[in-house]
């Protein structure tokens, strides 16, 4: 079965080609069938490979497909690496991807770009699979760029809207900044190790001593790439804007899969990080700050998708915090659970928006519980999972991260628990405002309210089940469980885990859990008090806000600050360069040379009189001169 791994990315590519070429001619049902079918095929294969890997003794397979680049001593095979990490990501991508394809059939059924949408989605899945399957950094980079491209195409899916196009461009350009770091990292890896294949690089890196500067630089450069792709401070602002795309895109690309590429990359390169404490520390601090920062913004947003977007940024920060404190398994665990519940929440939000006829402002919702019961129930499960309600998946993954953070640095733990508190508050604010109370929209909207079609609700139900039980594969040992995931991923992180020893007394671990649950419960109750008991509503547009509230509501004016300190000076410099250097100097030189040649030739051509006698005369004189010089 392992041999068939090439088919996993090939199937979505075939789907893309079929839909991309013939999409307009095919009916929507066939497009939906092909688009989802190929992903299901990939999922089935991924599942088979997962179980083969789990059962077998060999934990790492490299499948060489063909030689891709061969130049000098650089030889890059196009080969895939199958190990527990990539197989887990394969499952997440194809599994969630399939559910979201299914959901899209219902969600996008009224859109004219139906075929285009599925073509892009299939292409995205293809690149994402390439990203996680590649056995060297270059293939990962190809996938990395490919998903960036698909993200751009899908954010700007409704390209007639200028604001959406701008959001797409913003995402693309911000990712470029990160990609530059990633690319430089790859080049530095090649210079240092003479190879970019994971196997080779990690083997060599293992013999370096901890804290070698070049490893730190590599790790930091790779982290810059991860920052861009996974929306960390300071390159996060594209992700909330990326919600301009259709909701399934937000769920698949900007919550469950693509944005976790950064996590995957760092988890894959874990040995490089384990060997450079400075880079680890940076990752942890950036992650924790992003988590807290995005959570505060999430507190004051009114757009249902914006809240989820900031919550995604915040959760990604959590994952980086986990990576930074050496809890690689925890990070991957959280990637998985987050993929479940965040996809669920986004799809639920999509269902709400669908029911509301396109309305995204929570101030116009309320009391939707009785109109869309399935969505309500699944959304509630998602909310409980993300806030870490005991027993739900988020509880276990967050707990693992917080425990590691506590051992590493108490301050990081405090930031984490604060983030968790805010997460609880804004998620329940979202839930209460949307589903509880009375309906606040127009009469037309109320009339229009309806539960979504089956193709949308079935993925919701499946995802909600996963969000509940997803945590069970990683029950910490103190609770008497067995950490299956850690067991499974052990070969991948073996080199790192020998360097980072994690040990916490059982009592401390219990204590941390209790604190986390208590904080969660407190903030759940306060959200309940504010939004259900007191029926407080977020301020309407134009209403004067408290300074702090205003600051948070306007997202700390980060976009405006970027605009002022980066975009405007850059535009100014470009303008100046254009006007002075380009128009005056460069054009001057170019035109001057042209003018000079013109002038010279128009002067010299006067010598061409056309008089044959003159030509002969000149020829004779020249012969005389030549002979004369020979005589001298």
């Amino acid at each position: 079965m392992i041999k068939l791994v090439g088919l996993i990315p090939l199937l979505p590519l075939i789907g893309f080609v079929i839909i991309g070429l013939f999409g307009k001619k095919l009916s929507k049902s066939i497009v939906g069938l092909v688009g989802s079918g190929v992903i299901f095929g990939s999922f089935a294969l991924a599942l088979a490979i997962f179980f083969e890997l789990k059962g077998g003794t060999q934990k790492e397979f490299t499948i060489d497909l063909f030689t891709w680049i061969s130049a000098g001593k650089l030889s890059i095979p196009f080969s895939f690496l199958i190990d527990p990490l990539s197989s887990l990501f394969l499952l997440i991508i194809t599994g969630i991807g399939f559910l979201i394809h299914l959901y899209s059939i219902g969600y996008m059924s009224h859109d004219e770009g139906f075929a285009r949408f599925f073509a892009y989605l299939n292409l995205f899945i293809f690149f994402m699979l390439l990203l996680v399957l590649g056995s060297n950094y270059l293939i990962m980079f190809v996938g990395w760029e490919g998903v960036g491209l698909c993200s751009y195409l899908l954010i700007g899916f409704w390209f007639k809207n200028t604001a959406y196009n701008n959001a797409a461009k913003k995402a693309f350009i911000m990712n470029r900044i990160g990609d530059l770091g990633f690319l430089m990292g790859i080049i530095l890896i090649f210079i240092t190790f003479g190879s970019i294949s994971y196997h080779e690089v990690f083997m060599q890196a293992n013999s370096y001593s901890s804290g070698t500067p070049v490893l730190t630089v590599i790790a930091l450069l790779l982290f810059v790439g991860a920052m861009g792709k996974s929306a960390q401070l300071p390159l996060y602002t594209w992700l909330p804007d990326a919600m301009a795309g259709p909701t399934p895109v937000s769920a698949l690309i900007h919550a469950a899969t693509m944005v976790t590429a950064g996590i995957y990359m760092i988890a894959r390169s874990n040995i490089l990080y384990s060997l450079s404490p400075v880079a680890m520390q940076t990752v942890a601090i950036v992650g924790a700050c992003t988590a807290l920062f995005a959570a505060t913004i999430g507190l004051a947003q009114n757009d249902i998708k914006k809240v989820l977007a900031y919550s995604t940024v915040s959760q990604l920060g959590y994952m980086f915090l986990a990576l930074g404190v050496g809890a690689y398994t925890g990070a991957v665990f959280h990637v998985m659970t987050h993929a479940f519940f965040k996809a669920l929440l986004f799809l639920g939000a999509g269902s709400v928006i669908h029911a509301m006829g396109g309305e995204q402002d929570m101030r116009k919702m309320g009391g939707l519980k009785k109109y869309i019961p399935i969505t309500h129930l699944t959304f509630l499960i998602g909310t409980l999972a993300i806030v870490g309600f005991p027993g739900f998946s988020g509880f276990f993954s967050k707990d693992e991260i917080l425990a590691h953070a506590y051992e590493n640095n108490k301050l990081l733990w405090v930031l984490g628990i604060l983030t968790a508190a805010m997460t609880t508050f804004y998620m329940f604010r979202l839930y209460f405002l949307t589903f509880k109370g009375t309906f606040r929209g127009t009469h037309d909207q109320e009339h229009h309210l309806h539960e979504s079609p089956k193709s949308m609700t079935i993925p919701l139900v499946i995802l909600s089940m996963l969000a509940v039980v997803g945590g069970l594969i990683g029950i910490p040992e103190v609770l008497g469980g067995k950490h299956f995931l850690e067991e499974f991923l052990k070969p991948v992180f073996a080199d790192s885990s020998s360097r980072i020893i994690f040990h916490l007394p059982e009592s401390t671990e219990y204590m941390l859990m209790i604190v986390a649950v208590a904080v969660m419960a407190t903030f759940l109750y306060s959200a309940y008090t504010v939004y259900v008991k007191n029926k407080t509503l977020p301020a309407a547009e134009g209403e004067e806000l408290q300074p702090l509230h205003k600051l948070v509501y306007n997202k700390y004016w980060i976009d405006e600050i970027y605009e002022t300190i980066i975009t405007k000076p850059l535009n100014f410099i470009s303008e100046a360069l254009h006007k002075v250097v380009d128009n005056q100097i460069v054009d001057g030189i170019v035109n001057g040379i042209g003018y000079l040649v013109n002038w010279t030739s128009s002067t010299i051509r006067l010598a061409q009189t056309g008089n044959i006698g003159f030509y002969v005369f000149v020829m004779v004189i020249s012969i005389v001169l030549i002979l004369f010089t020979r005589l001298m």
């Binding site: 051509r605 061409q608 009189t609 056309g610 008089n611 044959i612 006698g613 002969v616 005369f617 004779v620």
Partner: protein, 105 residues
């Protein structure tokens, strides 16, 4: 008493050079295309003379064979050249080569 004992070969060199220079002078001096053509023939003959002289002085018949070829080429050249001249005359009504100044810019 043959010629090579009496006359040094340099003399033939000078004679040829003088004839050649006269040909060049004719080309520069005259404007009538026919005369210019004849001057060119004169130059060719100067060279022919030199080749024959060398052939004799060096006892090598190849030089004279070469003169044959020059004659053949000269005959061809004259035929084509005079045809061109007659055509030029037909178009410009004058043998003056200064009428043929269309080559300038």
């Amino acid at each position: 008493m043959s010629i090579i004992q009496t006359i040094p070969i340099e003399w033939y060199l000078f004679l040829s050079t003088v004839l050649f220079a006269i040909g060049v002078f004719g080309v520069l001096f005259r404007r009538n295309a026919i005369i210019i053509f004849m001057s060119i023939e004169l130059m060719l003959n100067a060279v022919n003379l030199l080749l024959v002289a060398f052939s004799s002085y060096l006892s090598d018949s190849k030089g004279q064979v070469f003169v044959f070829f020059i004659m053949a080429v000269a005959a061809a050249e004259v035929a084509v050249g005079l045809a061109i001249l007659s055509m030029v005359y037909r178009n410009t009504n004058s043998p003056d080569i200064n009428n043929l100044n269309k080559l300038k810019w």
